[in-house]
Amino acid sequence: MGSLKKSGGVNGAILSRIATNDQHGENSEYFHGWKSYDKDPFHLSRNPHGVIQMGLAENQLCLDLIKEWIKENPKASVCTPEGVHQFSDIANFQDYHGLKEFRQAIAHFMGKARGGRVTFDPERIVMSGGATGANETIMFCLADPGDVFLVPSPYYAAFDRDLRWRTGVEIVPVHCSSSNNFKLTVEAVEWAYKKAVESNKNVKGLLFTNPSNPLGTILDKDTLKNLVRFVTKKNIHLVVDEIYAATVFAGENFVSVAEVVKDSEVNADLIHIVYSLSKDMGLPGFRVGIVYSYNDSVVSCARKMSSFGLVSSQTQFMLASMLSDDSFVDNFLMESSKRLGIRHGVFTLGLKKAGINCLISTAGLFVWMDLRHLLRVRNSFESEIELWHIIIDKVKLNVSPGSSFQCTEPGWFRVCFANMDDDTLHVALLRIQDFVSKNSNKTAEKASDNDQVIQNNNAKKQKWKQSNLRLSFRRLYEDGLSSPGIMSPHSPLLRT
């Protein structure tokens, strides 16, 4: 019976293909890091030798501010004595338009997070189950099974699930490379578009995260403008996931696509924004996702679809109050930016001391770390995975290998820094510095600056063999290394 189920025989009770295929992406080796962390999580006093979680892009730096606000504003909760008189109305409220005050507050907050340079229309705010739900919903609105969306790589690992799994939409990556600091160029998009069309693919649009996950970089205004013109010319959609909009801590202002949509050369009907409070405010548990589209039909459709992932009215009510508190919001955004900047500075400085460089970035909750020089074999994904396993198992840090983001160049790792306290970060840096210094007498050649090969394959992850490590490799590390065992997937897919 069981095997019949899987093989999809004549058995009428079999499950759907979606339920049984791997397209949710959770069986990838990527989750080895999570499992190791789950089994042995670091705690400063209780488990100081445990695995430090640096694979989770959470923003824990300003929760104290929010906690304080909640304490001082009991009316914002429908459960407190001060707020309970609203309980029944709110508990009863399931209108998929969402609470008006909530939409207004979100629109207001989104404007503030973009420095007040743009305003958002509350009537275009559509709720969803986190940005996860928002991205899936926008795909359902814009594309049919078999259609293609271009997505610059490296990209957020879970896009494979969010954009493709139940929608049947295909992702065609637009590979970016270190040769120009992984900057997304119009030329690269044009080329990818052309190739896709030539292979008879129906390209419906371009989707990217800005500020970028995993890079932490922001797109400059000119490129953004040119991309918007490009999609207008080709009559394809542009979805910009701006989930990290308020995590900018340095450098140039973040330019939202909302700032360029009013250009005369732009067809606004093609422009859509995905947003969430999970990163900017550090509230992933509250599941606040937003679809914001300049296309009326899409707003209407997405709103009907939001029935499948509305924001809890209890949460809407609280946030409506919190986000309309201007003095709170202003202070929060400023403090958050400051703390992220400091944390980023401390971390990158610490890495530099260990001879590790990161891609220059001015936003996000992570750095894009360059460990190409530590690869046993240059330009090898096998080596990247080997190195990654060493980092997890020996250095005891869960970081995310570039291959899990469809990066075409081996050796890059995304490392999160905002999901822990200062002491833990300190420990992580010590461990890294310790690991690097132990191996400063390594014999592997450093990757030269010219050694960047753009790999224009389809970025399939190579299944690496669990062969014994070579002797030369063994010399690199004083500890004996055992080959990692095969683990069955059990870990939850935490938002990365």
Binding site: L15, H24, Q60, G285, S312, L494
Partner: protein
């Protein structure tokens, strides 16, 4: 090139149906006792507003849960960060126990087999994604909840094939109706993946009998297909009969750990029993590991807010509260339903005898000009625009017989319900007198008597029935 997806332009979301249009009219002119006493009274919304006071009292006594605290310590940060799609363990445990309590603790629910979803809207869609594909069909007894057209079909591409039920036997599911539906699906070249029932039924307000449940379990066993039992109204049973869940039947037939049990899935939600539709709490319960696994991953698209999970885990773990609540809820629903039924009777209108749900299935066939759906829609419009009551026409629920309407009773005050019944009575009386004038008096008196007599006959024969069959 087609710019948007086919989903945008199709109306498989079903929102152009009269069910939703009535709501729109209500929105434009909503009744308010003081501000708009001539507005439309909302009777098309199956909400349970009768027991909020009980929850509010509980909140006042439990400041920790209300204040996101545990043992006096703030757990705000933990909740703010908690997005594990396995859900808060305390919440799933409390939910499982609540579901057991509703079923008289006759069956057990294993928390690890619960998958949380954003309302049963999301739960039902997710189950469809797991069990069916475009070109597959689920059989549903009519009349059914209008939202199923959207929830089960829209984005999944699955189809619904109706199992026709009729008033001749109180809309119960029969074997021949099941077989006919199955064959119809095959004629349409659709692969039947399962049957979905709502029990207690929306819009009927009745519970599936044991006979029907046994029939369903036997049917899915023989056809090797799935059975989804949406038990969202399980806590709204107010008659003296117990609610019999499909889980009871599996237990009684000793099928608990069988292959068949893996194909039986229960959907639940706190939107009706607890009256908390805004909090978006839905659940899927399945004995099939693969379904649980796939559905859990899919729940990422609609997780329950952690602050809501925490609040409700505290609420539902308080057994004193849940016991009192379920009892009181049933009592109040019973009284309110009686009020509606008597009000309808005073207007010469009967309804299907029911003992659950937040609505009655009302028989207005005698008020139709002709036995057609056009006439039903005409009548409906009059009721919405002239009588100013938003009720749901049977056609929006895919009923095969014109003249039936779903009328909700638990989403308004007693006074408002009273007023609604007065309005209806006035309308019926004025219609009758209008008809008396327009047709020959002899004919009219004859048919009026006949109608009145048959109503009484219907009611008398109804109450003579064995309690097990509605």
């Amino acid at each position: 090139m087609k710019q948007l997806s086919t989903k945008v332009t199709s109306n498989a979301h079903g929102q152009d149906s009269s069910y939703f249009l009535g709501w729109e009219e209500y929105e434009k002119n909503p009744y308010d006792e003081i501000k708009n006493p001539n507005g439309i009274i909302q009777m098309g919304l199956a909400e349970n507003q009768l027991c909020f006071d009980l929850i509010e009292t509980w909140l006042a006594k439990n400041p920790d849960a209300a204040g996101l605290k545990k043992d006096g310590q703030s757990i705000f940060k933990e909740l703010a960060l908690f997005q594990d799609y396995h859900g808060l363990p305390e919440f799933k445990k409390a939910l499982a126990e609540f579901m057991e309590e509703i079923r008289g603790n006759r069956v057990t629910f294993d928390p690890s087999k619960i998958v949380l979803a954003a309302g049963s809207t999301s739960a039902n869609e997710t189950l469809m994604f797991c069990l069916a594909e475009p070109g597959d069909a689920f059989l549903l007894p009519t009349p059914y909840y209008p939202g199923f057209d959207r929830d089960l079909k829209w984005r999944t591409g699955a189809e619904i094939v109706p199992i026709h039920c009729s008033s001749s036997n109180g809309f119960q599911i029969t074997e021949s109706a099941l077989q006919q539906a199955y064959q119809q699906a095959q004629k349409l070249d659709l692969k039947v993946k399962g049957v979905l029932v709502t029990n207690p039924s929306n819009p009927l307000g009745t519970m599936l009998t044991r006979r029907e449940l046994n029939l369903l379990v036997d049917f899915i066993t023989s056809k090797n297909i799935h059975l989804i039992s949406d038990e969202i109204y399980s806590g709204t049973v107010f008659g003296f009969e117990q609610f019999v869940s499909v889980m009871d039947v599996l237990k009684d037939k000793k099928l608990e750990n069988s292959e068949v049990s893996k194909r039986v899935h229960v959907v639940y939600s706190l939107s009706k029993d607890l009256g908390l539709p805004g909090f978006r709490v839905g659940a899927i319960y399945s004995n099939d590991e693969m379904v649980v696994s796939a559905a859990t991953k899919m729940s990422s698209f609609g997780l329950v807010s952690s602050q809501t999970q925490y609040l409700l885990s505290a609420l539902l773990s308080d057994k004193k509260f849940t016991g009192t609540y379920l009892n009181e809820n049933q009592k109040r629903l019973k009284i309110r339903q009686k009020q509606l039924v008597s009000g309808l009777e005073a207007a010469g209108v009967t309804c299907l005898k029911s003992n659950a749900g937040l609505f009655c299935w009302v028989d207005m066939r005698h008020l139709l000009d002709t036995n057609t759906f056009e006439a039903e829609l005409e009548l409906w419009k009059k009721i919405v625009y002239e009588v100013k009551l938003n009720i749901s026409p049977g056609s929006s629920c895919h009923c095969t017989e014109p003249g039936w309407f779903r009328v909700c009773f638990a989403n308004m005050s007693e006074e408002t319900l009273d007023l609604a019944m007065k309005r209806l009575k006035e309308y019926v009386e004025s219609t009758d007198s209008r008809r008396l004038i327009s047709k020959s008096s002899h004919e009219r008196i004859k048919s009026l008597r006949k109608r009145t007599v048959s109503n009484w006959v219907f009611r008398v024969s109804w109450t003579d029935r064995v309690p097990d069959e509605r």
